[in-house]
Amino acid sequence: MVPVYICDDEAAVSALLEKLIGDQIMIMGRDMGPLRVASHPPALLELQKQAQIPAIYFLDIDFPGYMSGLELAVKLREYDPRGFIVFITAHDDMMFETFRYRLEALDYIVKGAPAMMAARVNACLESVCERMMNEPDGKTAYCTLKVYDTVRHIPMQKILYFEAVGSRHTLVLHMDDEVLEFNSSLNHFEEKLGGDFWRCHRSYLVNRARISNVRLKENFVELDNGETCLLSRKAKSAYAASV
């Protein structure tokens, strides 16, 4: 069960949403709930700690007298980095792209006719379900990565390889459909990730599960998506000895 939270300071809106979401969950028979309502951000932050994560959050943008929806979302993400956030707004000219990219918000719902809102709510819940299906189950290993205030959990099988570049400790993490560049050292990750990863070169750390070919003659390692990493002489002899 995925908990669902609603946070809006207008009682009418939150009651409407509660009804809409409750109905949608029931009609479609989704594995979601319980549905909880908070009228202001601190209450929601309290509630969040009581149930499991990840959860779904429907948030208002403005809370007069409290923090903004943006700050609230940052706080929610601290505890629940993989949660799903949907914003509720009165106007459709809000800065939605900012929310989408900065906080990886899922979608937004414009306040208006209940029928339209119901359709949007259903679309949001549908896409949450889809994402949950695509995501690996709880047993898979994650690599945690802290970037400023956010902690990211990256599924191991998404990782292709780490590459060290330049003289400053810059690491490039290659994943499926993503490349992340940050300051860290390869040795740190080699220690942290253990035997699932292979240091095939001074500046490459490869996910063993993603290797498709080790080309001993040409001195490189081929991955299952066609990318290649260099293979050092030392690693090559160690590999040849083990095989």
């Binding site: 943006l70 792209e97 900012t98 990219y101 900065r102 400023y148 570049v165 459909d177 490349v179 300051n183």
Partner: protein, 450 residues
């Protein structure tokens, strides 16, 4: 004098010498002195000096004759080379600049050292006690040398001389000329000994050298200032061009507002007629039709202007407005969102500008040909400046190939933008860059610590 005392004195004197060179070099490069780097420098310096003495000992036997000149020169060049490597490792500056700075540093140290020791010998009275003699002939000049290095580096830092100095290395020809001048400075002492062996080193001679150096420094300063000012003019011209683009945007907006006003008065007069007749249905119909009208016509422009005015870094603002007008020309739909004031992060403004420019250019090039969409987001909070540029695409880009340098969809000799972007990002400590595909958009994200 006991051997321990002599050894200590020599070690301290070498520390002072190394410190002088180090301090001046670092000040020339415009960096802060770091103790760890200095210690490494000192150890290398010491090792080279002692190593050379040992080699000479083996080479010449036990006779204390003056070794040939070329050995001295070789030693000198070797020392400079290794010191360059040490500093380059510690500060991550390119080799040519370090070499120039080290050469100038050595030259300055030698000149001052010669001058001070000559002055000390010239002025000090004859003493009986050797300790007193040591103080006047060695301790005094060396402590003055230390003071000199501190004062010089202070002055260099205050006048931001490093900017002018680094100007000398812009372009291949300029770098070549500067480096050969530096090499000449390094060897000038030896050359003098070869060309004028009979000139005895005296106090007056030192003074002469000193004044020559001062004059040379003035020349360098002036030429560098000239170069720097030329660059500045160029930069200003660019800024003016960008601001003109911004003005054009404003004028366009003004034109649209004028047209809108015209429309609106027409519409209102129509409604006034309905109101007079008490036709409530017509008014409601009118309201329904016009409520979205304003937003549709001017909403996006006004929102963009609002966003732009949130950028408090003027060069970045004008860059973005130039690129926005370019996107408009190409009929790319732009969403610009800048919620909060942007004041810049720990990345130098020039680098930030170039990074932003590369990201925007890439997005413009890569956006879908027919229905191009670009989203530009800047958000600054307490900890970081968050920049995201997203564009849709016709053909799914291959991120693995994108990460290799020289990747481009347009053949050879292109694709240098992204690699220089990556270089600038890795140069800025704690910057994080991320490239990913999401919902049919290629997103380039850059997070800079504040």
């Amino acid at each position: 004098m006991p051997f321990g005392f002599r050894l200590t004195v020599v070690v301290i004197l070498m520390a002072v010498e190394a410190y002088t060179v180090f301090r001046i070099t670092v000040a020339l490069l415009g960096e802060r002195p770091r103790w760890r780097c200095y210690l490494l420098f000192y150890v290398v310096y010491n090792a080279l000096e002692w190593g050379l003495i040992l080699v000479l000992e083996l080479f010449e036997g036990n006779t204390w004759t003056e070794p040939p000149l070329w050995i001295h020169e070789l030693e000198y060049i070797l020392t400079v080379f290794f010191l360059c490597m040490t500093i380059r490792r510690g500060y991550h500056v390119s080799f040519d600049k370090v070499f120039g700075a080290v050469a100038v540093g050595f030259f300055a140290k030698d000149i001052i050292y010669d001058f001070l020791t000559d002055a000390a010998v010239f002025y000090s009275p004859v003493f009986d006690g050797k300790y007193l003699y040591v103080i006047t002939s060695i301790v005094l000049p060396y402590s003055l040398l230390l003071v000199f290095s501190l004062v010089t580096s202070f002055v260099l830092n205050k006048t931001e001389f490093s900017k002018y100095f680094l100007c000398l290395f812009r372009g291949r020809v300029r770098t070549g000329v500067t480096l050969s001048a530096c090499l000449l400075l390094l060897t000038v002492n030896a050359l003098r000994q070869v060309l004028f062996p009979d000139v005895a080193i005296s106090f007056a001679y030192g003074l002469f050298c000193f004044s020559v150096v001062i004059a040379a420094l003035f020349c360098i300063q002036f030429s560098a200032m000239y170069v720097a000012s030329r660059d500045k003019v160029k930069a200003q011209e660019e800024t003016i061009a960008q601001q003109q683009a911004h003005m054009e945007l404003l004028e366009e907006l003004q034109g649209e507002i004028r047209a809108f006003r015209h429309d609106f008065t027409n519409l209102l007069s129509g409604m006034a007629l309905s109101a007079q007749e008490g036709d409530v249905e017509a008014i409601q119909e009118f309201m329904r039709r016009t409520s979205g009208y304003f937003d549709e016509k001017l909403g996006s422009e006004i929102r963009q202007m609002e966003g732009l005015s949130n950028i408090q870094l003027y060069p970045v603002r004008s860059l973005i407005s130039t690129k926005l007008s370019l996107m408009r020309q190409r009929h790319i739909q732009v969403t610009l969102e800048i919620m909060k004031p942007v004041t810049g992060g720990r990345m130098p403004v020039e680098d930030l500008l170039r990074c932003q420019g590369i990201l925007l250019d890439n997005a413009i090039e890569a956006a879908a040909k027919n229905d191009g969409k670009i989203r530009v987001i800047l958000l600054q909070d307490m900890e970081e400046l968050f920049i995201a540029v997203a564009n849709n695409y016709d053909e799914k880009p291959n991120l693995g190939a994108l990460a290799k340098s020289g990747y481009s969809t347009k053949g050879k000799g292109r694709g240098t933008g992204l690699s220089s972007y990556r270089r600038m990002v890795s140069r800025c400590a704690d910057c994080v860059s991320r490239t990913y595909l999401k919902d049919e958009f290629l997103v380039q994200e850059l997070r800079i610590p504040v």
